[in-house]
Symmetry: C2
Subunit: 296 residues, 2 copies
């Protein structure tokens, strides 16, 4: 069982001719609602790949019985949810204009409940972006932990970040977040990377980098017709963690991550094109050949 | 019975520390949902003032049984609604930052149905902002009509505007919209004003101007502690039209409009502080003295 901690959110994706700018208004030409939230995206990815998954998250009074609730149930995800009845589930409002410019407004909503929620002791947990203090507590009580500060990196104090890095087994981030963490901690990248057993840095179309035991391994991205990059990183983590839990070597886990990610970007929405293990393996073999043997 | 034609909408008012601008994101610190839409605001104002009212509008599949639906029912408003099941009720997303800067995104939603809806023949109708072509048809088939192009003015062609102006009895607009209409029609303000029996121009804190029979009458705004200007114009129209329907002189109708407007701005939301006729009259008397006799 893989536990994933973090946001369950609703993504509102809007299209407008042009972002209005201050004191102006514009018409919305398209508005679609997708299931989102980093942790929930990863949990859905893992569940679709066939691994048992527990989602530790918070939802609002609007969630029980909603389509999103039913979808997660259908995926067989164990919902370990703090429900905050008088507030909404976290929501992202993302406006994209015809020129590709984008503005995002994120409503923390029910996710405020993380701050006071009890951190469960977990065997194998991935901490996606969420409340820093909650993640500190999870990192301290869990047996095996991976961590991804994501868009909430700026909410962490250097102290919180240090405690988490000292208590985790895998660190995920993108290139930009890695730079930012180094700045926050006043550390060289080499020293930060050496402080965690395994570090995976995703770099968009340039693929990803696995650092462990003092060595670096580059894994190329899987090229597809990308429609929407949203959720690519979450797909990567779902693929990586599922393969890791199945006992594959870390480099193969990175490849599985790249493959799942390639499915996610082929369709708008973060949970709309998740592959099962069979579909994942099929594409994996085409791109990377047969994965190595299960090693653990 | 006063009929009001136009948008029924949901207003989402968001507070953020600072508008994010292109390619950035921000956290929402407050998010409240209010009943809105120009026509529905005016209809609610009229109904609260005790006049019978019919709202000719469009709503989405999300509307029936919603709190908004129940609120309009409780007000006794006759709902003459085109329901578009597979779309949402029109929605405004309004983001205001701590510096007072604002961005608005308007989702036309179910209001697209106006384009093909049949225009009812109405005795006494106010056309609030909505589909230009629908309003043209309403103007042509109704007996007595008032019109307010509002924020949708730019959607009108000069031809549509000309047909409407030739078929209405009262024109409402703000100063800016009046200038814009003159530009669109290539007319001097004096000529445009002379082409409609009664023209009411609202000018925010400077009050309003009534033009009829070649004369101008200024009506001052009613000074209150204003919290939120949204819906002020709609309140004015509700007060004016109700008083007009009761048979008061146009100048007294403007005063009633100014009074209703003063209530609306005292609270956030457009339908959250609508007065009944008694409360309206009480403030009217304090500010303007006893209204003139009913003249028609």
């Amino acid at each position: 069982m893989i536990a994933v901690v973090g946001h369950t959110a609703i993504d509102h994706l809007f299209r407008v001719p042009k972002l209005p700018g201050r004191h102006n208004s514009t018409y919305i030409t398209d508005h679609k609602v997708y299931f989102g939230g980093g942790a929930a995206n990863i949990a859905a990815g893992i569940a679709m790949l066939g691994e048992r998954c527990r989602l530790v998250s918070t939802v609002g009074g609007d969630f029980p019985g909603s389509d999103y609730d039913l979808w997660l149930h259908d995926l067989g995800i164990v919902q370990d949810f703090t429900q905050v009845k008088d507030t909404r589930t976290a929501t992202a409002f993302i406006f994209t204009d015809d020129g590709g410019d984008q503005e995002t407004f994120f409503e923390w909503g029910a996710s405020v409940a993380f701050a006071t929620a009890e951190a469960p002791a977990l065997d194998f947990v991935h901490m996606a972006t969420a409340d820093p203090d909650f993640n500190v507590r999870v990192a301290q009580t869990s047996t095996f932990a991976s961590f991804d500060p994501g868009q909430d990196l700026l909410r962490y104090t250097p102290d919180q970040l240090e405690i988490i890095l000292a208590n985790i087994d895998i660190l995920f981030s993108n290139n930009h977040e890695m730079d930012r963490m180094c700045e926050m901690l006043g550390m060289e990248r080499r020293a930060l990377v050496a402080s965690v057993p395994m570090v995976v840095t995703t770099r968009g179309s340039e693929g990803s980098l696995l650092c462990m035991d003092g060595e670096e391994h580059h894994v190329p991205a899987v090229r597809v017709d990308a429609v929407d990059p949203t959720g690519a990183g979450d797909g990567y983590r779902a693929g990586f963690l599922t393969a890791f839990r199945k006992g594959y070597a870390p480099i193969d886990c990175c490849r599985a991550g790249a493959v799942v990610s390639s499915f996610v970007v082929e369709r708008t929405g973060t949970q709309t094109n998740l592959p099962d293990w069979g579909r994942m393996l099929e594409r994996y073999r085409k791109v990377f050949g047969e994965p190595g043997k299960i090693i653990s």
